[in-house]
Amino acid sequence: MKLITCIVRPDKLDPVADALDKQHIVGMTVTDVRGFGRQKGQVEHYRGGEYTIRFISKVKIDLVVQDSDVEAVLVTISKVARTGNIGDGKVFVLNVENALRIRTGEKGTSAL
């Protein structure tokens, strides 16, 4: 099982959720986060002066899937969340050692 953690633009949340739904990936956890990448935020202008907004609002989407679904999910997110501009975000894949469905006590892949 793998945890796929995606940092995406806030307006991409619905398109990503819809695209994953069509792939029958069910379940996600969404967190409001702030961050920046190599560009270190963005430069704005106010009254002729420059200032840097360092932490930009993003949305983190966490999904846990079977190993065999990871590639398909990455391709989908890559397509749907991309605008081509700096700030599109990143996706990280982490290993999941075990999982538990709290309602029933099921463990392992049947918890997903």
Binding site: M1, L3, A17, D21, V26, G27, M28, T29, V30, T31, Y51, T52, R54, V64, L94, N95, V96, E97, N98, A99, L100, R101, I102, R103, G105, A111
Partner: protein
């Protein structure tokens, strides 16, 4: 917006991968998504175990296989897709994972759809920021 310049090199305590650490077990992160109203029960259950040094709580939104739930407004159904949940993260020694999972499972369960899930991840290294200490003694 000031950048802090470090005059001297920042000292780090060499450690290597914690999973190979002598005398200490591996470390795991247990991340649970629970109903917000179960937080107190989960906190109490974990503190009674004495293997949990602390926890981090995050407000999140999410859904599982039920895909949120359907409400009705003026006769029309509509779907609330993202439901408020809490994420509770605790880092523990590998040998304590089972009792912690059992405690969370009991404290957070109502038997209804929407109770949540818990996931276990390997932690490769941990550091106490105040002292620079590394390894299982930080937990």
């Amino acid at each position: 917006m000031m950048d802090v310049l470090l005059e001297e090199p920042f000292e780090t305590i060499p450690s290597g991968d914690a999973t190979n650490r002598e005398g200490g077990g591996g470390m795991m992160l247990i991340a649970s998504i629970i109903r917000p109203e179960c937080l107190d029960a989960v906190k109490d259950a974990l503190s009674q175990l004495h293997v949990v040094g602390g926890m981090t709580i995050t407000d999140v939104r999410g859904f599982g296989r039920q895909k949120g739930h359907v409400e009705h407004y003026r006769g029309e159904p509509y779907v609330i897709r993202l439901l408020p949940k809490l994420k509770v993260e605790v880092a523990v020694r590998a040998e304590d994972v089972e009792p912690v999972m059992a405690a969370i499972s009991q404290a957070a369960r109502t038997g209804q759809v929407g109770d949540g899930k818990a996931f276990v991840h390997t932690v490769h290294e941990v550091m106490r920021i105040r002292t620079g200490e590394r390894g299982p003694s930080v937990l």
